[in-house]
Amino acid sequence: MSGNVIPPLSSVRHERTFPRFTAAQRWEHALLLLSGFVLLLTGLPQKYRELSISQDLLSTPERVELIRQIHHIAAIVLALEALYHFGRILYLLSKRRLPGDLLPTWQDVRDAGHMLQYLLFLCNDKPKFGRYNFEQKVTYWFVFFGVLIMGVSGFIIWFPVFFTQFLPGGVVPAAKLAHSTEAVVIAIFILVWHVYHVHIERTNLSMFTGRLSEDEMRTFHEKEYERLTAGSVKVKPGAKK
């Protein structure tokens, strides 16, 4: 807003918004959120069985079975989601249309260094980010590998008899340990990192609305904003790029 002088006579002000996530991406996120939440909710009591709340929940064999079944159903949903995501990556890669915005670059390291300087009061300006800043890339890749680890280890401990037909038996306890530890790692990560950045630092609901306002673009993704509006910085409100 600060840069734009709006003609005082215009009665309706158009602010541009910028598409950020497609409907499919938002659905993916919703599925991930929902299945992940259910998985955590049914997984953590199984991990922390000594807690009284878990013991209330898991007190009979039927309940243990039920909780495990819910966990398995959510696991299948998440696995299908992950497979779709992989498939989409491969498809776009084959069409040479995979956007590289999310790939980590040296610029991200420099941005992180810059951010650290800012946080330490060594400089007074925040780094200017592109379409995805380093924090968002960390989020994506952390969850990417987290889901990978959880999926692989989860299916190993779900079907130990099958997997030990061609894998050494030791992978089963290793998968169990990895599954139970990685779950907590992801839970802490989501709480500390992701929830902070999208709800506390600022309310960023673009994953649900699909769009960022011009103001948000300018503030948080300045480079991307400049790239999109190159040559037409002083665009008329409402104009398409």
Binding site: Q55, L58, S59, K128, F189, I200, E201, K240
Partner: protein, 466 residues
């Protein structure tokens, strides 16, 4: 029968007279010098018993019961004197209290078993505690259900010969008593005894006289023996075995691990069983307890070539009982009570090591960054507040110094006129800023953004980015 009675009366009276004198002199001579001497010296005890023994010490003395079984009436005076009852000067009529003289009252028991079942309840007169415990036992349940063969007091403890079983000071079983218990139980449970005496525990007890190993009562209890087939007994088995197998003093003699319980509890099988034991112990679980893999009365050494679980084929066979499709690699999935180390289960060890470093090394800095971010934002906000002209809305913007305050007023005032009642929406860029704005201003700033994005939504919809 009549001749026998007359004979008995005559000899009885004679013996009574003679032995009465002996008894006094014997007791006075201090042949019993223990603490019970006071009772023992009571001449009436010996006199009373001798009166009975006058007849009942005859060899092969018995009467025929209606069932045809002979009811043996012979008491070995020597054995009785050595028994704990004899030692403690318990008179015959203490238990046989209905006998006051001769002729004895008539018996109605038709069989030997019936006679014993009629009689055993007298034990509670002195041994009330133990007797009451037996009322909760599986034997008593069986008896109540009509099984007259179920063990009663006198089946395990012959009242005429039973020696002292416990140390009077500690109340613990004496060594010979522990050694003897399996034979006592074997009177009925002989098939189990045959298994037990071949097991690692039973062999040590019966062949080597090793008192470290469990005898029947260590697992099953003594007088209130509970049913070993209930879910609650099964769920408690890990803790039963753990009483010895987590006792380092015993285990180190045999080079055995004391980690068996915690490694079991840490794994799939154990967590569930222990959970049930804690919450609803009566819930049956299909997860294995110690005995499902190691056996019950036939437990062998882990190294035993035929049944030992350290032999991979034997373990696989056990796994396949519950995991039918299990193949050769499968048993390795169970860590065999080992704690992972670079030698045993290295993969598990290194995964654990990885997370030990990964969690503090990655999540720690993330948390630190977030904390720093919060503090910088708060410090910015504090600094902003001091110069009063500044707009708080700019708090987290990159260049706070050059606040374009004059320019701002225009769009704000404009939108305020046009759409002041627009609701707040989630499009608001900086939520923390809301509270800081002066009361009249915030709706305008936000509604502006909200309205703008709404109106432009329609034109922008198709420019979706992939």
């Amino acid at each position: 029968m009549k001749r026998l009675r007359i004979y008995l009366i005559v000899t009885g009276v004679a013996v009574l007279l003679v032995s009465g004198g002996f008894a006094v002199s014997e007791a006075a001579a201090g042949s019993r010098s223990k603490s019970d001497a006071a009772i023992w010296q009571n001449p009436s005890f010996q006199a009373e018993n001798d009166a009975c023994l006058a007849c009942h010490s005859q060899a092969d003395f018995s009467v025929q019961l209606e069932s045809g079984e002979p009811l043996p009436l012979t008491i070995d005076p020597q054995a009785y004197a050595e028994s704990t009852h004899g030692f403690n000067a318990v008179t015959c009529v203490t238990c046989h209290s209905d006998i006051e003289g001769f002729p004895h009252p008539e018996r109605t028991a038709k069989s030997l078993r019936e006679f014993r079942l009629d009689y055993y309840t007298v034990c509670q007169n002195c041994h009330e505690e133990q007797f009451n415990l037996t009322l909760d036992s599986v034997h008593q349940d069986a008896l109540a259900a009509g099984n007259t063969d179920a063990a009663v007091c006198t089946d395990c403890h012959n009242p005429h010969t039973q020696k002292r079983l416990t140390n009077p000071e500690t109340g613990k079983l004496l060594g010979y008593a522990r050694l003897h218990i399996p034979q006592t139980c074997a009177q009925c449970h002989s098939a189990i005894y045959d298994q037990y005496k071949e097991s690692v525990h039973g062999k040590a007890l019966t062949e080597d006289g090793n008192l470290d190993v469990p005898t029947c009562t260590d697992c099953h209890g003594v007088h209130n023996i509970s049913s070993p087939t209930t879910a609650s007994f099964r769920n408690s088995i890990p803790f039963l075995c753990a009483e010895c197998h987590t006792n380092n003093a015993i285990m180190q003699k045999y080079g055995l691990s004391t980690d068996v319980l915690n490694t079991y509890v840490a794994d799939f099988h154990g967590t569930t069983v222990v959970l049930f034991d804690k919450t609803f112990p009566d819930q049956p679980t299909n997860k294995p307890v110690c005995t499902d893999c190691h056996g019950v009365h036939d437990i062998v050494r882990a190294e035993d070539p035929n049944k030992g679980l350290a032999v991979r084929e034997n373990l696989l066979a056990r796994c396949q009982v519950c995991h039918p499709g299990a193949t050769a690699n499968f048993p390795e999935a169970w860590m065999s009570h080992y704690i992972p180390s670079p030698e045993k289960y290295p993969l598990v060890y290194y995964v654990n090591l990885f997370y030990k470093f990964f969690i503090p090394a990655v999540l720690g800095p993330m948390l630190l960054l977030v904390v720093m971010d919060v503090s910088r934002a708060m410090i910015n906000r504090y600094r902003k507040k001091t110069p009063p002209a500044e707009s708080a809305g700019e708090l987290s913007q990159p260049e706070p110094q050059e606040a374009p305050a004059p320019k701002r007023t225009e769009p704000i005032s404009l939108s305020e006129e046009n759409m002041p009642e627009e609701p707040l929406t989630e499009e608001t860029p900086m939520p923390e800023a809301q509270e800081e704005l002066p009361a009249e201003e915030p709706p305008s700033a936000e509604s502006e953004a909200a309205d703008d994005s709404k109106s432009s939504d329609s034109d922008k919809e198709e420019t979706s980015h992939d």
